[in-house]
Amino acid sequence: MAERTFSWPKQGEASLLGKEVPRVYDGPLKASGHAKYANDINTPGTLFVRLLTCPHAHAKISKLNVEPAKQVNGVKAVRVLRGEGAEIRWEGELIVAVAAERPEQAEDGLRAIEVAYEVLDHFVDEADLETAKQKDATRPAGANTKGDIDAGKQQATTIHEGFYGVPTITHMCLEPHGAHCEWKGEDQLTVHLSTQNVSGTAGQFAGPLGIPEANVRILCEYIGGGFGSKFAADEWGVACAQLAKETGRPVRLMLDRATELKIAGNRPSAFAKVTVGCNAEGKITVWDSVHWGTNGGLKGGTVSQAVMPYVFDPPNRRREAIGLLCHTGPDRAWRAPNHPQGCALTDTALTDLAAKAGIDPLTFFKKNLDLTNLPHIYGPELDIAARLMDWEAKWHPPGAGKGPVKRGIGLALHTWGGGAHNAQCQLKVHPDGSIEVAMGSQDIGTGTRTAIGIVAAETFGVPLTSVRVHIGSNQYPKAGPSGGSTTIGGVAGPVRRAGQTALWKIFDLVAAKYDVSADSLVAKDQKIWSNNKEVCTWKQAAALVGPMPLEVLGEGAKQDGLTSAQVGGVQMAEVAVDTETGVVRMIKMVAVQDMGLIVDRLTAKSQILGAMIMGIAYSLTEERIMDNKTGRFINADLANYKLPRIGDIGELVVELYEPADQYSRGVIGLGEPPVISPGAAISNAVANALGVRVPVLPLTPKRVLDALKGAKA
């Protein structure tokens, strides 16, 4: 018998894999609202929680009396999370949770609480390095030097010095963090948790609650956005379970919008002074940068120094990072941690250097691709992007356009891993030919169910309707958290392995019964074939497993070629900037993205489009605004924390870069990579339009006008 090895179908022979497959399992349920999220669980008797949070960035609770809240109509339980004397370290920290029959009554309960604070000194200005130094609120966050900086500067014929910045933004998950908890008896807990980590959170409830981890059922059929912020049970999740225990009722606790933005995660800021030089040929000879910013939570970190400069690795390079201790909510992983900031601080400076040297940035970036680890990817991707953007026709020297509304184009490039996480699946082939796959995974928007279904259906040569997919419960085989673009490989690998293992067993049964060689068998179009001759139907083959289903455990991650990692990606943006109002309008954006073997072309494109739109948000409108005097996050709501709407995104063009050798790389995740480049690409387009760099994102009208004013002065 020939050796059986796990592999994907030969390129061009797949019937579902890589095609545009809609979300058949859960799409209609999501669109019609029948899908239930943690925030929608309403089991009979559910109590609702509202939270008292601290309005000060730094304070001590000098008085707290919750007794009046207990007297309020409808209030069933009041739980103090931080009592008198507790120090509050950032605005929004939780103080009291009130559970009531109705959310309105829980709010009545909050109003009845008597609380007073001793307000303490705070520092929240993430950009103000000098004040932070005076307050001893800076911490070294890493430094690294390679080569000879002085020599690199001497080799340079053009040197550019610039300042660039990326403020803190939040995750803004539309479903806030939270849970619905219900006890059975004294020690059995069911949690509907809004989580990216179905298989990994039970212990975080069990520990503080003093029950066995095996008694905690975590359920998450649907999650309303995570973006890296929902990996934990969190103190509010545990509080929800405690309130449920205390009241003997199911309890739902979701953060309110403002609290969600203040304490449930954000993306660290970074502001950089950069010196970068190139020689007469346009080759980068030196990079020297120091950046500072905050990751909040008084942690004293900022964006990792390791991403400076981003992607390019010049022979002489110095980088330093300084973390600011800020009384602001702590960061959490935000889609492609560190990379969007690194890109926005690097590809802007490189574009300005190119401008100073009188070189078109496309030419400049191409000249320096040997300083990257993926020149063979970036080169063709730049060419494709340039064609789709019509770069040659549209590019002009910075600021060369006429009239008050100026157009410009810019580019950036990025990289990401996207390797598979560890995961297992249980796959059953029922005697009637139907197939079931169960994994303790989750769908953060990836289309996890559809991806699992595609791989299983492809493997057995059956339609998607023959496959049932179960995810969203920790009673299924463990699957890794959905972060870092690890899910698609994480689920595709184990399902393919389990599927092929089951199919081989069935092939052996078919071979014995029909007297054909097992090695010659192929499953396709609901039939089993031997040398292009039909042997039997899939149903007949499946029936050979006997009265009980055939069960296989599929494992991952493995180094067997089904999955791999490390993609590139290039983006170009075109904008129109009104120099009188400062408004930047998106005209067009092009993304060229490699991603190995594509599982679902439709959802893959959706990931890229979504990332581009998220990138437009942090490039043009989105930022956390802190009031330095009060220490408050003053735009912690959806009205003032601006996100683009359907008419604000311009034309979006997505090109999946897939030369023949991409398919053989296997499956690679792509949630993060396309969200990295927009900041630099859009900022570069604005700089090309204006002939002036608007140094700090997002490029609001005020910042654009300030930059224009500064250039005139």
Partner: protein
């Protein structure tokens, strides 16, 4: 804050002295206070004493059926649908008429359910997104959203689908540009606008052909 009087603070933003003075003096300043002005503390003391009006029977016509619930007059249509009727396609996201996740049709017109009181919607026809997929029968809007992948996490999607349903009924034959302008009332964080736009355009064009 009283809009007819200048704010009781000097310069742009609160100054540190007032801020500290206020928070020290107002012993009972509630957590909702911004900076514990005495004025604000008094207002909040008054708010604390407010007693909500008693619950009463409210009859709503939802998805073609009359249902009677007992709720306080202050309960929003959104909360009544979600908490009393378990119709959770109506999503609670911004709670202040910004994002459109709670969009329902009220007498055929898309509205934010968080901006209406349940009690004021009596006698009106309320349609929630659940009605677009009933008994296995899908409205063309649902089919178009699935076909064009107008969703990722799916949390904004029912509100968006309802906005599209209302818009396309009112504007059969709408162009892409019409759709861009007419659907500006909904926010998506995952960035599904491209699929939503294609879905809306397809439904609007089909509505035109359908007469």
């Amino acid at each position: 804050m009283d809009r007819d009087r200048p704010p009781t603070r000097s310069g742009p933003g609160f100054n540190r002295r007032d801020f500290l003075k206020g928070s020290g003096a107002a012993v009972t300043a509630t957590a909702l206070a911004t900076a514990a002005h005495e004025e604000q503390a008094a207002a909040q003391e008054a708010a604390r004493k407010l007693v909500p009006a008693a619950p009463q029977k409210v009859t709503l016509n939802v998805n073609g059926k009359d249902v009677t619930i007992t709720v306080e007059p202050r309960v929003t249509l959104m909360n009544a649908l979600r908490d009393d009727l378990n119709l959770t396609a109506c999503k609670d996201v911004c709670d202040r008429t910004v994002c459109g996740a709670c969009t329902v049709l009220l007498d055929g017109k898309p509205v934010y359910a968080c901006a209406r009181l349940a009690i004021e919607c009596q006698g009106m026809k309320i349609q929630t997104t659940e009605s677009l997929l009933q008994d296995g029968k899908a409205d063309p809007v649902i089919e178009a959203f699935v076909k064009h992948d107008g969703m990722q996490c799916g949390f904004c999607t029912p509100g968006f689908a309802m906005a599209v349903r209302g818009f396309c009924t009112q504007h059969p034959g709408a162009t892409l540009d019409d759709c861009r302008k007419g659907l500006g009332g909904n926010i998506c964080r995952c960035g599904t606008y491209d699929g939503v736009l294609k879905a809306a355009y397809e439904v609007a064009q089909a509505a035109k052909k359908g007469g």
